[in-house]
């Protein structure tokens, strides 16, 4: 019973948090006015004139909230996948270097190849990054938890260095764009960006959603999964490719946002258990909620727009420490 209530809360949380988030921001708009505008735009009940509040709600806040939701869902969904297939509760797209790889793909596109697709390059370099991390960790047979994290750190550092080279070479006004975007922010959101993100994350996570129960099997040892009839290498590859697509799209629209993919799956696992059949969808909704919450904080506590990556890192790093301490030797094991 209690578990069902938790499931419902996590499931509807993005709706509630987006609703509240719509009221908040540097420009004060009363909740009543917000609801009025929202209803007017969707159902045409009231006859409102073109007031500035309307543009703020419909063209600034709403696409931004939706974008944050999609990105949050994409990052935590990928976090669940990566933790499952690598049988390692301490990894996420950020730690494995996918975010850094994708960021490099975006940076070279912005800096040198403005005609290319940012998303495509982010995807390609994200895949290269995770492939490298996996190959380095897998020097002999089964991958240990620690070696995977270390190789992720190595790959991440490598791609960040490449990003620095791009920053060094690129012309100054493009540099500003790259630097700002690398810190991770939703301040440039609009409907066009939201549509791109929604499409990329959906294409990435829909197959994963359908295959999510297989993560239970893949999270066992490789030999065990094989004896249960699973083609481990093929399935891992499918999961990696699709979740990298989601991460690359997310990174391409809002820069590097770390820790979400690590924290959210853990929180959900603590609340409702590790069965991926429920864990995956609830991580999507919880990730969306968490990201919308973090972004709301980042845009409303000061008059500046603090990059949301800073907020997630400020909460995520202590959380990682907590997990390490709690898991003790076991967390690092083998």
């Amino acid at each position: 019973m209690k578990k069902n209530i938790k499931i419902i809360i996590l499931f509807v949380s993005p709706l509630i948090i987006s609703g509240v988030s719509l009221f908040l921001g540097p420009y004060k708009i009363t909740p009543v006015m917000t609801i009025k505008i929202f209803l007017n735009e969707t159902f045409h009940i009231f006859d409102l004139k073109d007031i500035p509040e309307k543009a703020i709600i419909m063209d600034i806040r709403l696409p931004r909230i939706l974008l944050a939701g999609v990105v949050g869902a994409g990052l935590s969904g990928s976090g669940v996948v990566l933790q499952g297939i690598f049988r390692n509760p301490l990894v996420d797209p950020f730690i494995l270097g996918i975010s850094a790889g994708a960021a490099f793909g975006c940076a070279i596109t912005v800096g040198f190849f403005p005609n290319w697709s940012v998303q495509f390059n982010a995807f390609v370099f994200g895949l290269i990054a995770v492939g490298l991390a996996y190959a380095i960790a897998r020097t002999q047979g089964e991958i240990s938890r620690l070696s995977l994290i270390l190789s992720g750190v190595i790959v991440s550092a490598f791609f960040q260095a490449l990003v620095s080279i791009v920053k060094f070479l690129v012309d100054p006004h493009k540099l500003q764009a790259i630097v700002f975007w690398l810190m991770g922010s939703f301040s440039l959101s609009d409907w066009r960006i939201f549509k791109i993100a929604f499409l990329g994350v959906s294409i990435g996570l829909l197959p994963v959603f359908l295959m999510r129960w297989r993560l239970n099997v893949l999270s066992l040892s490789e030999e065990e999964a094989k004896s249960l009839g699973v083609n481990v290498k093929r399935d891992r590859l499918i999961f990696i490719v699709f979740s990298t697509l989601a991460v690359a799209t997310a990174t391409s629209v809002c820069g590097i946002i770390g820790w979400v993919g690590l924290m959210v799956p853990h929180l959900v696992r603590m609340m409702i258990g590790p069965d991926h059949k429920i864990l995956f969808p609830l991580s999507l909704t919880t990730g969306a909620s968490y990201m919308i919450l973090a972004d709301t904080i980042s845009r409303s506590i000061t008059s500046f727009d603090i990059p949301v990556g800073i907020i997630t890192a400020l909460t995520g790093a202590p959380f990682f420490l907590y997990l390490m301490k709690k898991g003790g030797k076991e967390a690092w094991g083998k």
């Binding site: 129960w213 297989r214 249960l228 699973v230 590790p274 069965d275």
Partner: protein
């Protein structure tokens, strides 16, 4: 019937065969034990049969058909492997763990259906551990965990069950309990069980047939009472023993020369 014919296996880069001309058969609804000391090659043989490692010579046949070319999926519908109990990366519930046994029957883009839940439930009931279903797999005892893994193999609905040292790390009570369950499954559910084991007494008590391996070679096979004798044990384990008959079972008791001498001296 499972038949192993002239099977040879060699590790990559090694000059010597780990398994040499292994040949034996396991009959339907019977428990066949592969007995041997540590390092004798019984785990290697186990992995070859389970399809994890590939032998370079010889064949594995089921009812006369070779199975070398089967995919993991097809193989999983014939062999259910019970690994040694272990800690998974995530603390799944007992029920979820058993449900994983249905993996070969779940479509690629879907989750287990009602029939799969029913099979998992039946498997838990057959092993008498249905009351544990909500418990976390990492919070139950070693013996219970082994039973959960056997239930998972049962849910896998495969005619052959391969059990890798199912009792070597359990206490005496759980050893007997788990082996009894395996025997019961073989008889009642017509499952052909192949068990690796290193305790000759447990093999004698629970197996219908024993295959004795040393240094990658079979040095004896047959009914426990026929093959367990002083000479064979001396050859395999290098210790002197006496055979004791009890309730129709041949049991082994080591000869403790040292104690004997002491008593004589006193």
């Amino acid at each position: 019937m499972l038949e192993i014919k002239k099977l040879c296996f060699r590790h990559k880069g090694s000059k010597e065969d780990t398994l040499k001309d292994i040949e034996f058969s396991a009959e339907l609804g019977k428990v066949t034990a592969i007995l041997g000391p540590n390092g004798s090659g019984k785990s290697t043989l186990f992995k070859c049969i389970a399809g994890i490692w590939k032998p370079y010579k010889g064949s594995i046949c089921i009812n006369g058909k070779e199975i070398d070319k089967l995919s993991y999926l097809e193989r999983a519908k014939i062999f259910a492997v019970v690994p040694q109990e272990h800690e998974p990366a995530f603390p799944y519930s007992v029920f979820d763990m058993v449900l994983i046994g249905r993996a070969p029957y779940v479509n690629f883009f879907s989750s287990p259906g009602l029939k799969d839940y029913e099979k998992a439930k039946q498997a838990l009931q057959t092993l008498g551990i249905y009351h544990l279903k909500e418990k976390s797999y990492d919070k139950i005892s070693g013996g219970e965990r082994q039973l959960v893994l056997i239930a998972r193999a049962l849910a896998q609905s495969a005619p052959f069950m391969l059990l890798d040292e199912p009792v070597s790390h359990l206490d005496f009570r759980n050893q007997i309990k788990v082996l009894l369950k395996i025997k019961e499954l073989a008889y009642k559910n017509k499952i052909t069980a192949l068990v690796t084991i290193h305790d000759p007494n447990l093999a004698s008590l629970f197996a219908d047939k024993i295959v004795v391996i040393k240094d990658g070679r079979i040095i004896g096979q047959g009914k426990p009472n026929h093959i367990l004798n002083e000479k064979l044990i001396q050859e395999v384990y290098g210790i002197k023993i006496n055979i004791i008959q009890n309730n129709g079972f041949n049991l082994i008791c080591p000869v403790l020369d040292f104690l004997k001498n002491k008593q004589m001296g006193a």
